[in-house]
């Protein structure tokens, strides 16, 4: 589960570590933490493609597609903000920037799905772009970890 956590011990510890890192001039976002975040984006893109597939096939209920798009889009946006706010280690700065762009892109796609949950053509287009986004995100994961998610 990689969504927002309201009462967590580990995130609190990470936040303290982040603050210490920040004041000592080091990046607070390690390669491992970044790859975990990027992998969750890959999962979000995959799920978005499934939701969009339901819209494309006219196989869903528009309220369901809309609420799912709103929820998942919120998660993508949150991830984008989280990554953008973090100070990356110098060697992963490029990947961090790419991940922020990918997360923002996902949020936009979800917004389109949320706005037009009954439009099959848009559903097909969003599904296609979700697939492409996932491929792009997976390439970032490979750059970070050396292996596909």
């Amino acid at each position: 589960m990689k969504v927002r956590r309201s009462f967590r011990i580990v995130p609190a510890a990470l936040a303290i570590a982040a603050a210490v890192g920040l004041f000592s001039g080091c990046g607070d976002l390690s390669r491992e933490e970044l790859s975990t975040g990027v992998e969750s984006l890959s999962a979000l893109a995959a799920q978005g493609a499934l939701v969009a597939d339901g819209v494309r096939r006219d196989a869903t209920k528009s309220t369901y597609a809309r609420v799912m798009a709103k929820t998942l889009g919120g998660e993508a946006e949150h991830e984008a903000e989280k990554l953008a706010d973090a100070t990356p280690a110098p060697e992963v700065r490029r990947e961090r920037d790419a991940a922020v762009r990918a997360a923002s892109g996902l949020a936009v796609l979800y917004l389109e799905l949320q706005t037009f949950p009954g439009d099959e053509q848009r559903g097909a287009r969003v599904q296609q772009r979700m697939h492409e986004a996932k491929e792009g995100i997976d390439r970032i994961v490979i750059r970070l970890t050396g292996e596909a998610p």
Binding site: M1, K2, V3, R4, R5, S6, F7, R8, I9, V10, P11, T36, E39, S40, S42, A43, A46, Q47, A49, L50, V51, D53, G54, R57, D58, A59, T60, K61, S62, T63, Y64, R66, V67, M68, T71, L72, E75, P149
Partner: protein, 406 residues
Amino acid sequence: VKSLLQIALGIIAAIGGFLDIGDLVFNTQAGALYRYDLLWAVVLGTVGIAIYSEMSGRVAGITGRPVFDVIRTRMGFGTGLVVLLASTFVNVLTVAAELGGLAIVLELLFDAPFSLFVVVAAIGLVIIVALLPFSGVERVFGYGGLLLLVFIAVAVHQGPEWGDVAKGFVPSFASSTLYFYFVVGVFAAALMPYEVYFYSSGAIEEGWTEEDLRENRLNAVVGYALGGVLASALVVVSGYLLHPLGVEPNDLGTVALPAQDAFAETGLLMALGGMLFCVGGAAIDSSFSAAYNLAQFLGWEWGRERGPRRAPRFTASWLLFVLLAMMIVESGVNPVEITEYSVVFSVVALPLTYLPILLIAGDRSLMGEHVNGRISSTLGWIYFVVICVLALAAVPLLVATNGGGG
């Protein structure tokens, strides 16, 4: 014939009422992360809840005493108080999780603000409980929960490699703490303490006697076994569809995606409808459990069948627990997170819940000829050891895995 029909209806309700939000969340996540590898944990949990429910129903039928009464008598006031506090904490978290889940499903169906649906769900549950008799509440939600059978149809429709599915029923141990976290979660989701509190108190509400022990056994064995098939289907459909795509089901809505994928809107509506009934039924069961425990511990008049006039403090405490749960959900905490915490914390309370049942069901002076047989006793103790091990591991695993975040 009427008796057989009665039993059959009870079993059907037991199947439909088997799942709750904990099963929906943990089983779907388990499938998405580990494909079919955790099916054995579903079986382990299902057998456990069947054993202990049967025992608690038998104790209620023979002695006329529900589980919490037994706990207080057997373990004394001090320990009883600790169990009361622990179980109430877990029960309130569970009611909040179920209420939040109910609001999420309503939001998915009708797309209005979540916080509005939390209030609607709470008021709706109170009205249903006020209007229907005890058995009516149980049956309505149990039968409605049968819509979840769509997941068995989805599993068949997907046509997975059944050999791979079968391998999942053989225990395997991956070398990751996250895997063990999900073992605990899937197991504990099936064995939530509120289930036996409610089961035994419900038996007393329905006036079970020695004559009802056959129904008790069939409910627990057949009803729960079939409920276990349903729980396994959740793992299978998620493992088939979500695992290869790398989807992480962080939201309750994702549980319904495989049904939509297989049977379009009809499948989606059946899945959401089934979730609505099973989560709604569990919200009532868990809130009643909290009120039952408190009333039984303090020696108040209790029971839905007695009504607010004859059991005013019981009724007031039930309403208070629903209100408290509503406030927790309205505070903005994600219901899926509450679910995870309620399931994991419940593991810690499990030994204190199940030990007294095991002791009294094995006490010939109280149970007479209905005392635990060799098989029940052996299985009961084996499960008790398993429960104790998991209780020790639960919180460290929760911390080590960042609450399942890896």
